[in-house]
Amino acid sequence: MDAITIRQVSKAYAAGRTRTEALRGISLDIGEGERFGLIGPDGAGKTTLFRILTSLLLPDSGQAAVNGLDVVRDFRRLRTQLGYMPGRFSLYTDLTVEENLAFFASIFDTDFRENRHLVQDIYVQLEPFRRFRAGNLSGGMKQKLALCCALIHRPRTLFLDEPTTGVDAVSRKEFWQLLKGLQAQGITIVVSTPYMDEASLCDRVALIQQGRILRVDTPEGLRRGYGRRLMAVKGPGMLKTLDMLEGVAGVSDAYPFGEHVHAVVADEGVQWPEGRAAVDVEPDIEDCFISLMKDGHG
């Protein structure tokens, strides 16, 4: 069964004379218990979609339902079933960790002690700071507190808007471990991120750009569907290598990729200059995103 259905949802913002199309007719289904990633840069429409699905914003057109509840009509019932962690820290900075948890629990007519087992794994890390004001916590701890507050009423569906943005690689890894544990408890998780490498940590992902969905697939499916020949070329000198590749016939695109330059090449007849080694490589999610953007889907 689908936990989330989205049909032709559009939303535009007007500010003065400028009109921004945040979402342009998005349709998407997300399965129950799935860990689903919305992957795209700033301005792609990720936050707008989250705010519509959590009933905080009305779509201009189209329909969406979460657990069978319409996001516009059934918003009261829907809100008791979902947890939402916005991209910006939005807890009460002058309340302590404990007070924030008690407050969010009381809003949902529940009690922190009663539900503590739900967030046990995360809370053990927070507990030493339970009498700290939320505003004085480190970034990583704030993130964990926000996650606890979003889970306090045992939601069926959890929305996490860029939980790992600006977070270092170690904390990011730990956070994804936590999500794995929550998924095992049967919670549907929708998470957005601008880090393409996090796509591989989701069951399925939607690549989103300028209010449109470029592709929905499993990370593996995305890579398999790449459909071009990709080669990795190594220095010396990134700029020199890029400039050199511009002049090679059969190379349709070249861009830096870690320690290599990735070159999209025609199957046959590429003439590499003397002394330049190139090896075939499997595309990464980021290669897929770049290719979809260049195809003009963006």
Binding site: T18, G40, P41, D42, G43, A44, S138, G139, G140, M141, T165, G166, V167, D168, A169, V170, S171, K173, P194, Y195, M196, Q209, M238, L239, L242, Y255, P256, F257, G258, E259, E286, F289, I290, M293, K294, G298
Partner: protein, 246 residues
């Protein structure tokens, strides 16, 4: 090293009894792209603020663009460029107003502002948008404009504090091409990032853990020394040893 644009020896900064930066030493050469990595709370921002002349050290020595960070902070500020993801351009000023504003701060004359501004707009392909409010520009354009503005006075060194957060992969790469071109012209680039693939684009990289520099080498050298396939792996290994959180 005579041509070092940044030279630090035992640079230290404490806040009360907390040592944010604990005796770091490094030297960055002219035209080098230097990646300054570390987990949140490792002390990167504090170190960067000292290099920019915004914060006095408590111990140690450092020179930036030839000026002492203890005594010549105003000279340092005039000789560097700075750009961060959080603060760069004024959203409610137009493109050309932002250029004039920053050029003015750096003391460029009226004619210079016009000439460099026009050339910059042309290079960025923003000539038609010169009067548009920065707010209305796509994030990628904003970022490229912010970088160009940060080096409008042709500084010897530019500090980039997580400059590429949240942009699409094409824009991110376009941005790195601008960095390469700047370095090619002799501008030293000192950059922090959470994207580990970008660490691979740097000439040399250091990784800070608990206020100290735990590793400093070329990306290839770091990977070899740690028997790792990627900088990400090296980073995870070193940063996991951290005792303190932010």
């Amino acid at each position: 090293m005579d041509d070092a644009v940044i030279l630090a020896e035992g640079l230290t900064r404490r806040f009360g009894d907390f040592t944010a930066v604990d005796g770091i030493s490094l030297s960055v050469a002219r035209g080098e792209i230097y990646g300054f990595l570390g987990a949140n709370g490792a002390g990167k921002t504090t170190a960067m603020r000292m290099f920019c002349g915004l914060l006095k050290p408590r111990a140690g020595k450092a020179r930036v663009a030839g000026y002492d960070v203890w005594t010549r902070t105003e000279d340092i500020k005039r000789s560097i460029g700075y750009m961060s993801q959080r603060f760069s351009l004024y959203d409610d000023l137009s493109v050309v107003e932002n250029i004039r504003f920053y050029a003015g701060i750096y003391g460029l004359g009226r004619r210079e502002v016009r000439e460099r501004g026009d050339r910059m707009l042309e290079e960025l392909g923003l000539t038609a948008e010169r009067k548009a409010l920065v707010r209305s520009l796509p994030p990628g354009w904003k970022q490229r404009l912010a970088f160009s503005v940060a080096i409008i006075h042709e500084p010897g060194i530019v500090f980039l504090d997580e400059p590429t957060g949240g942009v699409d992969p094409l824009t991110r790469r376009g941005f790195w091409k601008m960095i390469y071109r700047a370095a090619d012209r002799g501008i030293t680039v000192f950059v922090t990032t959470h994207y580990m693939d970008e660490a691979e684009y740097c000439d040399r990289v250091s990784i800070m853990v608990d206020g100290r520099i735990e590793a400093l080498d070329t990306p290839a050298g770091l990977k070899q020394a740690h028997g790792a396939d990627s900088i990400n792996e090296v980073f995870l290994r070193l940063a996991r040893q951290a005792r303190r959180t932010e």
